[in-house]
Amino acid sequence: MHIKFEDVTYTYMLGSPFEKRALNGVDVSISSGSFTAVVGSTGSGKSTLMQHINGLLVPTSGQVTVDSTVLQPGVKRKVIKPLRKKVGMVFQYPEHQLFGSTVEEDILFGPIQHGMSVERVKRRLPELLNLVGLHEDYLHESPFQLSGGQMRRVAIAGVLATEPEVLILDEPAAGLDPSGHRALLQLFRSWHEEHGLTTVLVTHDMEDAANYADDVIVMNEGSVKLQGKPIDVFREVESLTAMNLAVPPAVRIGMALRRSNWSIDVTNQSSEQLAEQLMTNWPEKGGH
């Protein structure tokens, strides 16, 4: 599903002394079927942006189009409701939202709310649980007996069970250990490919943006500052640094080496590729 923001402004607590403009004339387009990373430092407006995609927030001015649904100021609830079924959201620390007495009950909550056939979803539960890396034996246990990482997987299974067409992920791997972090992002990437989703990953981890996304949007102070293929965006070292964002190490190191005449590609290449290039161009031993 294509997602389009046109001149979108959003102001929190409009008309009160605490009024705060979080989005400022945002024009941006996320193409159908893409895996897009939205990066930006804290307070850049990235979370506000993503909450517009399923109508949790409605523009103060401008409009958001998701497929054929148009969200404008004053949009009716009956317009928003069908959109919620199509857009799945994984919030930060989704394990804080668990409440069921069993894992199964928790996962089924979303599908039931969306009027899906419970029997059909139930049949798929073991497979779904395996996919997120949990054994099906957990289905009848209390989610609160699980470790933090396992609870997160249950919460994510609950979102995937609703079979969304658009998946919005807000820092889904925050606080996980390195292997859990990688496993989770790989899961989202392969789910994305297998189900032909449109996926939006909100993150401040530039390496994740580089490794998993096709397209990167950089937000700062409520506006979109850069958009493009990861490598093109990451070459903008100066503006990224000015926005308090880290440049992926491959690019940062590549550029420093280029400056001292190493013939190195400045791309988001693997460590192995960079090492290969260094070894190919290695100065002759003893040549000083």
Binding site: T42, G43, G149, G175, S179, W262, S271, M279, H288
Partner: protein, 276 residues
């Protein structure tokens, strides 16, 4: 001066359970900066809680400055000596402003008002939250909240500070702020025990303790530990990119050892190239 000493420590919550900590012994001297690494469930957080007497060993002994955590009369004294900063910045605030929050711990410790004001001023200045004393917690960034929490612990004048994944929920800017604060506390002679998943952070410390299944399977100087990155790779840890590149270079005989500072390593490559 507070030395931490764990001797043949075993721990589990219930009889039926497997050991969470098994036969663990370690000595940490005043002023050391120790990283505790290990996967989820390896016992890192349990060890931290044993050290500041939130938990007591099932068998074996933990002493801080010679006082056993088993001695009921010493528990408050030990907790005041070994302060703890937790992962979630939102779970550590009890008061409506930063100043009241720092005061809360001091009040509990029975510190007199005049002394309290002095300590709030100096602790908040040291970690750079003195301009935020009247700010409400929800108006602070994650990094500011963690620093306010650190100020609250610091005001109790601890010898030891334990950070249990204190940067895990922060953005890169917040992480930098908290790491800079740790560095500064270390320079002032406070013992730092840092539980982390981030190898970049462990690189800043003096000593690395690696835990697996409730045991310490590595305890060495950081610079020695990182000379053997295979150890981490085998355990599915993600090496910092500049060490990954060096690993390939070392394996192919282009480099003999690892440089543990990215800038220094890049600089060395640049110098070797200009000598061509």
């Amino acid at each position: 001066m507070s030395t931490i000493e764990c001797k043949n420590v075993f721990f589990k919550y219930t009889d039926e359970q497997d050991w969470i900590i098994q036969d663990l012994s370690i000595t940490i001297k005043q002023g050391e900066w120790v990283s505790i690494l290990g996967t989820n469930g390896s016992g890192k957080s349990t060890l931290a809680r044993l050290i500041n007497a939130l938990l007591t060993p099932t068998s074996g002994a933990v002493t801080v400055a010679g006082k056993s955590t088993d001695d009921e009369g010493e528990i408050w004294n030990i907790r005041q000596k070994a302060g703890m900063v937790f992962q979630n910045p939102d779970h550590q605030f009890v008061a409506a402003t930063v100043r009241d929050d720092i005061a809360f711990g001091l009040e509990n410790a029975g510190v007199a008002r005049d002394e309290m004001l002095k300590r709030i001023a100096s602790a908040s200045e040291r970690v750079g939250v003195d301009d935020l004393l009247f700010a409400e917690p929800h108006r602070l960034s994650g990094g500011q909240k963690q620093r306010a929490a650190i100020a609250g612990v610091l005001a109790l004048q601890p010898d030891i500070m334990i950070f249990d994944e204190a940067t895990a929920m922060l953005d890169p800017k917040g992480r930098k702020e908290v790491m800079a604060t740790m560095k500064q506390l270390h320079e002032r002679g406070i013992t730092i025990l840092m539980i982390t998943h981030e190898l970049e952070e462990a690189l800043e410390s003096d000593r690395v303790v690696f835990m697996e299944h409730g045991k310490i399977i590595n305890d060495s100087k950081a610079e020695e530990f990182f000379q053997k990155p295979e150890f981490l790779v085998e355990r599915d840890f993600h090496l910092p990119y500049f060490l990954q590149v060096q690993k390939h270079l070392v394996e192919n005989g282009f480099q003999t050892n690892y440089l543990l500072d990215e800038d220094e390593w890049v600089k060395s490559l640049c110098t070797s190239n200009s000598r061509m």
